[in-house]
C-alpha cells in the first residue's frame, strides 16, 4: 500500500513538474522585486507590506501603482489613510512621477481617507460599508487592477470598536479578492515579534513582505525580506534596497548557482611586461584581479593603466573611486603619461566616486549594481576596496565582494580591485579575505635595500594560465609604468640603483673584454697577411721555374721537327716522286 502511494505521489510530482503552472502574478515593476518574488505579487490577491515608520512602505506601494499604470497598463487606486493626495503627489514628484497627470489620464486614483477621532462620535452598531463602496466606486471608475491601502491600521486609531473593525477587515479582504484586484496593504511593524500592530498578517495570508531599516555603525541600510509567499517560490534572504531618484531598487544580491559562463579570451592589463608575465596575453575576460600592496606602491596607477587600456580598445570602463576624487585621479595619472580625461570626454570611461561612509556596504553594492547595469562596462575598477572596511567588518566586506564578483562574472565584466595591505599585517595575508575569490592576484611590494625603497611585483596567483613566478621590479616613470627584470646576481636580488650599478659594472667588464678580443684579432690578421704574401712569392718563383722548363721543352721539340723536315726533303731530293707516298705519310 505504502509503496503504491509513494509511486503515486511520485508520478503526480512528475506530472506537476511537466505541467507546472505558475501562480498568476502581477509584476510590480520595481527593480529587483519581481526577481525575488519570481514574477511579482500574487495576482488578484492582497499582499501585506509591513515595516517600521520610514522604511519605505508608502513609496513601495505607490510605486507599485505608478509602475502598474505606466508600464503595465493596469490602472490603480491608492487609498491613503495617512497622507493627503497632494502630499503624496509632492512626495513622488521628486522621483519623477507625475501623479496629477496619471490621475487626469484616469490611470491612477488617489483617495485620501481622513479619519480623525476628534471629529467622530461612535454610537451603536456600524460597519465599514462606506469604505467598501468608496473603494468599489474608485476601482470601477478607472477600471483598476491594482489597489493599495496605506496604512489600513489607521482605522484602528480612528475607531474604537476593534471587534467591528476586525470583522470588517476580514470582509474587506474578501471584497478585494472578489473585485479581482491585486492589492497591497501596508502595516506598521508591531511590538515584539508581530509583523503588524493590529495583526493584519492574520488576514493577508498570501504574501507578506517585511521592510526594515537598520542602523549599524551609524550607517543605515534598508532591507527587504519576503516573509511568506504562499504557493510560490521566493528568495528568502534579506535584500537591501535603495531609494533614489528612480524609485526603489531591490537587489537580489546572491546568486545561488556557480554556473557562470566563462570566457577564454584575454584582456590586456595595459602594461606589456605584465602581460608577458601572465602568459603573454593578460587577464581572462570576465575574471577578477586583485592588486594589493602597501601604501604608495602604485596600485592606483596599475588600475588606471588597466582602465586606460580598456578604453583605448574602445571598450567601456567604470571606475569606482573610494579614496580620491575623479579629478584627482585624472591629474595624478597625467604624471605617468596616462590621459584619462579624453576617455571621460568620449564617454567610455566613467568615474563614480563616493566616500565609503556615504552609505552602508549593501547600499554600495546596490549603487554599483545600478551603475553597472546602466553603463554596461566591459571592465570595472574598484579603488580601493580596503576603504570599505570603514563601513563594515572584514566578513561583511568579503560577503559583499563575493556577490559583486559573482555578479560581474555573470555579466562577463573584468574587474580589478586594489587593496591596501598594511605593513603591520603580514602582506601575504589575504586582503579583506578576497584573495581566495579572485582569479588573479598581483602583489606590489616595497623592497628596501641599500638605503632606498623600490617596488617589486609578484604574481601571487593567476588561475588557468601560465604565469611567471619571478619578482619584477615595478617602475613608475614620466613615460608610464614598466616592469624590469630584477638583477639576480651572486649578491642576491638587486633592485633600483643597486641593479643599475651592477649593470654598469657588467658593462665595464664587457668593454674590457671586447678590447682584449679585438687586439688578438688584429694580430691574427697580421700574421695571416704575412703568410699570404709569402705564399704568393713562392707561387711566383714556381711559375718562373715552370716557364723555364717549358721553354726548354718547346725548343727541343722545335729542333726535332726542323731536323725531321730537313731529313725528309733530303730524301725527296734523292728518290724523286716514288716516295711521294712516304712524304704524305710522314706529313701525316
Amino acid at each position: 500500500m505504502r509503496r503504491n502511494k509513494t509511486s503515486c505521489t511520485m508520478t503526480n510530482f512528475h506530472k506537476q513538474q511537466h505541467s507546472f503552472i505558475q501562480l498568476p502574478k502581477t509584476p510590480t515593476g520595481i527593480t529587483g522585486l519581481d526577481e525575488i518574488t519570481g514574477g511579482g505579487l500574487p495576482k488578484g490577491r492582497p499582499s501585506l507590506i509591513c515595516g517600521e515608520a520610514g522604511c519605505g512602505k508608502t513609496l513601495m506601494s505607490l510605486e507599485f501603482i505608478i509602475r502598474g499604470a505606466t508600464q503595465f497598463n493596469e490602472p490603480g487606486v491608492f487609498m491613503a489613510f495617512e497622507e493627503k493626495a497632494e502630499e503624496l503627489t509632492q512626495n513622488v514628484a521628486s522621483l519623477g512621477f507625475d501623479l496629477n497627470k496619471l490621475q487626469h489620464d484616469k490611470l491612477v486614483k488617489l483617495d485620501h481617507v481622513h479619519i480623525d477621532r476628534s471629529e467622530i462620535e461612535e454610537t451603536g452598531e456600524y460597519d465599514l460599508e462606506g469604505l467598501f463602496i468608496r473603494m468599489g466606486y474608485a476601482i470601477d471608475s478607472i477600471g483598476a487592477k491594482r489597489v493599495v491601502l496605506d496604512t489600513l491600521e489607521n482605522l484602528f486609531s480612528g475607531l474604537s470598536d476593534t471587534a467591528i473593525l476586525r470583522a470588517e477587515l476580514r470582509r474587506l479582504f474578501n471584497f478585494l479578492k472578489e473585485k479581482g484586484v491585486t492589492a497591497i496593504i501596508t502595516g506598521e511593524k508591531g511590538e515584539g515579534g508581530s509583523l503588524t500592530r493590529q495583526g493584519l498578517e492574520e488576514y493577508v495570508s498570501d504574501c507578506v513582505i517585511l521592510l526594515d531599516h537598520r542602523v549599524i555603525n551609524q550607517i543605515s541600510t534598508r532591507r527587504l525580506r519576503v516573509v511568506k509567499y504562499r504557493g510560490s517560490q521566493h528568495g528568502t534572504n534579506e535584500y537591501p534596497f535603495l531609494i533614489d531618484e528612480e524609485g526603489i531598487s531591490v537587489l537580489p544580491v546572491t546568486s545561488l548557482k556557480l554556473e557562470k559562463e566563462v570566457s577564454s579570451s584575454r584582456v590586456s592589463s595595459g602594461i606589456p611586461a605584465l602581460d608577458d608575465m601572465l602568459g603573454g596575453k593578460g587577464f581572462f575576460k570576465g575574471s577578477s584581479v586583485l592588486v594589493s600592496g602597501t601604501a604608495g606602491t602604485g596600485k592606483t596607477s596599475i588600475a588606471a593603466y588597466f582602465a586606460n587600456e580598456t578604453c583605448n580598445g574602445g571598450k567601456k570602463c567604470l571606475y569606482f573611486a573610494f579614496e580620491e576624487s575623479p579629478k584627482q585621479i585624472v591629474r595624478n595619472m597625467k604624471s605617468i603619461n596616462v590621459d584619462l580625461q579624453k576617455h571621460i570626454d568620449k564617454g567610455v570611461l566613467q568615474f563614480f566616486a563616493s566616500r565609503p561612509t556615504l552609505y552602508g556596504l549593501e547600499m554600495h553594492l546596490v549603487a554599483m549594481y545600478k551603475l553597472i547595469h546602466k553603463f554596461k562596462p566591459d571592465a570595472v575598477v574598484l579603488d580601493p576596496i580596503t576603504n570599505l572596511i570603514t563601513v563594515g567588518s572584514v566578513s561583511e566586506v568579503k560577503s559583499m565582494l563575493v556577490r559583486l564578483i559573482d555578479f560581474l562574472q555573470e555579466m562577463q565584466i573584468t574587474v580589478m580591485f586594489t587593496a591596501l595591505s598594511l605593513n603591520t599585517i603580514v602582506s601575504e595575508q589575504t586582503d579583506e579575505g578576497v584573495s581566495s575569490l579572485v582569479d588573479a592576484w598581483l602583489l606590489v611590494r616595497d623592497i628596501e635595500y641599500n638605503g632606498e625603497r623600490n617596488r617589486g611585483m609578484y604574481i601571487m596567483k593567476s588561475r588557468g594560465m601560465k604565469h611567471s613566478n619571478q619578482v619584477r621590479e615595478f617602475i613608475i616613470t614620466d613615460k608610464g609604468l614598466d616592469l624590469v627584470e630584477v638583477y639576480l646576481g651572486p649578491e642576491g636580488v638587486l633592485t633600483g640603483s643597486a641593479r643599475e650599478a651592477q649593470k654598469l659594472q657588467e658593462k665595464t667588464g664587457v668593454a674590457l673584454r671586447d678590447f682584449a678580443v679585438s687586439r688578438k684579432d688584429k694580430e691574427i690578421m697580421r700574421k695571416r697577411k704575412m703568410l699570404e704574401s709569402k705564399i704568393s712569392s713562392l707561387q711566383a718563383e714556381f711559375e718562373s721555374a715552370e716557364e723555364e722548363l717549358n721553354k726548354i721543352y718547346l725548343e727541343e721539340q722545335l729542333k726535332q721537327e726542323i731536323v725531321e723536315r730537313n731529313r725528309a726533303e733530303m730524301t725527296n731530293m734523292r728518290k724523286g716522286s716514288i716516295d711521294a707516298e712516304n712524304k704524305i705519310r710522314s706529313k701525316k
Binding site: 471629529e119 452598531e125 469604505l131 463602496i133
Partner: protein
C-alpha cells in the same frame, strides 16, 4: 437655548435599507423632533445609489451622520442608538 436660532443641516449616509440604516434614520428623526423641531433638514444619501458622494464627506463607516451646518463638521457613526452621545455629538447638548 442658543441653538434655537441655528439651522441644522444633517446628512445621513446609508447603504441600502439595512437594519442599522433604518434604525439610524428612525433614531435621528426621533431626536430631531424632540430637540430641534423646525430647525433641521435631514438629507439621506444612499451610497449604493450615489457612491461618488462618499469621498466628499470622507465616509467610510455606515451609517454616518454628518452635521454640515453649523460648522465645524461633525460626524457620528453607528446606528445612533445612544441618544446622549448623539446629542453631545451634534452639539445640541453641551458636553
Amino acid at each position: 437655548m442658543e441653538g434655537k436660532a441655528v439651522n441644522y443641516e444633517l446628512r445621513l449616509y446609508v447603504a441600502g435599507k439595512t437594519v442599522k440604516s433604518v434604525a439610524a434614520l428612525a433614531n435621528l428623526q426621533k431626536y430631531c423632533e424632540e430637540h430641534l423641531k423646525g430647525q433641521y433638514v435631514i438629507e439621506v444619501i444612499d451610497l449604493l445609489v450615489q457612491p461618488q458622494l462618499a469621498e466628499g464627506d470622507q465616509i467610510f463607516a455606515i451609517p454616518t451622520l454628518v452635521r454640515k451646518v453649523p460648522e465645524p463638521i461633525r460626524k457620528i457613526i453607528g446606528d445612533l442608538s445612544n441618544e446622549e452621545k448623539v446629542l453631545v455629538g451634534l452639539n445640541i447638548r453641551p458636553r
